[in-house]
């Protein structure tokens, strides 16, 4: 069905009426006469008043024009266009345009001067780092694009605009470097973005859930970050970024499982430390998922595998506990989750108090009261630490809830249950894709060349190639032969 184009009514009265009707008699719609048949229509709250006076009113007032093109020449705003479509004009008004209407003319000028109310750029709070830049995205799309362009002064940096949401018309921008990013992934993402049918999206976190490969999976398949430096680094590797107006988070994809445990600091610090930190994180995550479950399994079914020297303190600390290990573990795990959730919703100062109350008071009291064993408290606290070690908040949440089914399985079938859970997890991860690329790369499909950049990190002199799992068009970051000569 083709949409009927409603033309612009030529007379001032009709135009005013049509616009008022189109905007449901909105109180902040301003109709201002600029003399000699010219009328300006705009929404007061959306436009930059200074520009309205300086660049529009100041230029055209007290002059008379016979046709609309002449006015276009006078106005010094760059974002200006002519339109004959009433619906387009209404949309433009809603995104911060001023309609310049000349009585008797069936086309209008749409002068875009949106008021740029935005927060000042600030430090990255949620993904802070010691070595490296501190800046984070803010809520304005143009600022965010500007931030990325400042890092990447590359003419090949492509920017495509989409408007998503039948009601919100949110501006969404897709960025990639044309001669690096794989065409297949770009097309894939473009297709997904254009096929979204929804009334509105408020944040990029919502958008990422709409365009990811499998929304049923426990794991996020696209990452969101608030760091422009990280986004630029990933763009250089051949990833694609999606920015959403009004959101401080940039979506990056394709993003494999292991990359959720990477930070910008891994690149910034020297390679020994980076490698150590990466391995540490993996160990922490592994521990976080399985530690409590193993405790429950061993204490419920497999006392035999604990050496005698360790069994004595273990049974001593559990001697007063009246619950089975499964119940004990759930009690403590839920306590930690309560604390965590309470802490994250509180103002910072109260949050600290909560931590003290929870950690020291409840923890000690629980042991004294004989509710839990000391050893379990250590294990659960270590597990909680391990889940905080994940740099990506979304992935950290997954690690956090993964523990519960595993503890349950351990409580029911011991080590067999844990192994069942592990196999299921592995199969699940192997089945996932991110933008059509395998999620478990570079482990599987094995890309051994990528292990030196994605699992550990070798010095830059040994990593002249981009990760091949992203299938970059240009595989070389630099030519290693030339680099050697310069040394």
């Amino acid at each position: 069905m083709e949409k009927i184009i409603r033309p612009i009514p030529p007379t001032t009265e009709e135009m005013t009426l049509a616009l008022k009707k189109g905007l449901q008699n909105s109180a902040d719609l301003m109709v201002k006469s600029a003399g000699s048949g010219m009328t300006l229509l705009y929404i007061d709250t959306l436009i930059e008043k200074l520009m309205l006076h300086q660049d529009i009113l100041g230029r055209i007032k007290d002059e008379s024009f016979s046709e609309i093109d002449a006015i276009m020449g006078e106005i010094t705003v760059s974002d200006i266009k002519k339109s004959k479509n009433l619906d387009e004009a209404i949309m433009a008004v809603l995104t911060g345009s001023v309609i310049v209407h000349l009585n008797g003319d069936s086309s209008v000028l749409l002068v875009n001067i949106p008021s740029d109310e935005k927060r000042a750029l600030s430090k990255s709070e949620n993904e802070s780092q010691v070595v490296g830049s501190q800046i984070a995205f803010n809520e304005s799309l143009s600022t965010n694009i500007q931030l990325i362009r400042r890092y990447l002064a590359d003419p090949n940096l492509c920017q495509e605009m989409f408007h998503i949401g039948t009601r919100t018309h949110t501006a969404v921008s897709m960025l990639y470097i044309k001669d690096i990013a794989s065409e297949e992934y770009v097309n894939n993402l473009r297709e997904r973005l254009t096929s979204i049918k929804i009334d509105g999206i408020i944040d990029s976190a919502v958008l990422s859930q709409l365009i990811e490969d499998s929304s049923l999976s426990l794991f996020p398949q696209m990452t969101v970050t608030e760091r422009p430096d990280l986004v630029s680094h990933w763009l250089l590797n051949g990833k694609i970024t999606v920015l959403v107006n009004g959101s401080t988070l940039a979506i990056c994809c394709p993003h494999s499982f292991i990359e959720f445990f990477h930070t910008m600091e891994d690149i910034n610090v020297r390679w020994h430390i980076a490698t150590f930190l990466r391995l540490l994180r993996m160990a922490g995550v592994f521990m976080s998922i399985f530690f409590t479950a193993v405790y429950v399994a061993v204490l419920t079914y497999h006392y035999e595998i604990v050496p005698q020297a360790l069994l004595i303190p273990l049974s001593e600390s559990r001697a007063r506990v009246p619950f089975p290990p499964l119940f004990e573990a759930f009690l403590l795990e839920f306590m930690i989750e309560f604390l965590r959730e309470a802490g994250s919703r509180m103002p910072t100062k109260v949050g600290q108090t909560i931590g003290i109350v929870g950690g020291i008071v409840i923890g000690t009291a629980a042991v004294d009261a004989g509710f839990t064993s000391n050893i379990l408290i250590i294990i659960v606290a270590l597990g909680a630490l391990g889940s905080f070690i994940t740099p990506s908040y979304t992935m950290g949440n997954v690690i956090r809830i993964l523990r519960f089914p595993l503890i349950l399985l351990a409580g029911c079938w011991g080590l067999y249950g844990i192994m069942f859970g592990f196999c299921l997890l592995l199969l699940h991860l192997l089945r996932q894709t991110t933008l059509g690329a395998p999620f478990m790369a570079p482990f599987y499909p094995p890309r051994f060349a990528d292990w030196k950049t994605n699992i550990i990190r070798l010095p830059f002199t040994y990593t002249s190639n981009r990760p091949i799992e992203l299938r970059p068009k240009d595989e070389h970051k630099y030519n290693p032969e030339k680099a050697k000569k310069q040394k």
């Binding site: 595998i305 079938w413 192994m419 196999c423 299921l424």
Partner: protein
Amino acid sequence: MKANYQPKPPLLVNAFMAFYIMHDLQVGVGINGFQRYIYMYAKHDSWVSVILVGLLVHLIVFLILKTLQLYGSTDIFGVHDDVFGKIIGKVFNAIFIVYCLYATLITLINYIEIVQSWIFPETPIWLFSLSLFLLMIYGITGGIRVIIGICFFNVIISLWVLFLLLFPLKYADFSQLLPVLDTNPLGIIKGTYRMTSTVLGFELFFVLYPHFKEKSKVQLYSHLGILISTIVYVAIMVISIAYFSPGQLVSNIWATLTMFRISKIPFIERFEYVTIAYWMIIILPNLMFYMWSAIRGMERSFKVVEKKSLLIFSILLFVVSLFFKTRLEISRLNQLFVPIGFYLAFCYPILLFFLAFIKRKWKSNKEQAL
């Protein structure tokens, strides 16, 4: 059905995966207790039997891959169809499918038996069986790449198990291996025959072959895989002979697990509990490969949709698995499998190679004559 079968590019894997697949297929549930039957015949020269089997497998796999290479890109179902014609070919395909299901069942039941006798004597079979079938169905519906993926992961992350073999070395007495080659040759041959059922799995290359990208390199990598698994088997055999006294080894159903018992690190003792649970991930790819081969056969030969046959086979095997409760029944099932595996996986490929070779020659001669 066309003899030639070319899977779509997303279903192809690199040729070097043949190494991992081969190794994984050969090492399965059998490794926990293969020593006993070989030792019965070959005594302290059992390791010679193991090496002989290794050499034999090299030969058979060479022939299997040569047979398939005659056709370019095909699997055993296509070869059967071409060599025996439509109807008899279907019969042979059905036999192969039944064999795959039998192998799945054997692996499953032997694993469940180990879990039951070592860890959970009270827990009913259906629970273990059900959990393994759930994993299998979930994995197989993900496609061949997921199965190969878990197989690859398994080989990489299972390396630690090999370190457990260092612990028995402390108590090993290698003089028990002497005098070398003292047993009569017939005993060694008999031991070799008993060993064949442990190293089975390579015959699935008959079905997997079309899924490799560079067909010419499959030969190399699969032989490397065989080499590594043979070395593992020989190492375990040698250590077992040195560690156990002869009487113990003959009466021990799970010699390898018994060896793991004495492994000890500061916070874990009795490692066999860990390894038994851990063995799930080692047998899971085997189960999935066999099951997948069976449902591939159903689709290729009888045009049954994969999901349908997967569901039917799973339910069927699940029900059948509930009937094997005692050691005696399981032992009988295993005994029956030895000749079947020997004839189907060791003898039949040789025959098939010559049949296919002659058929190809005859066909090309006919074409030339025309």
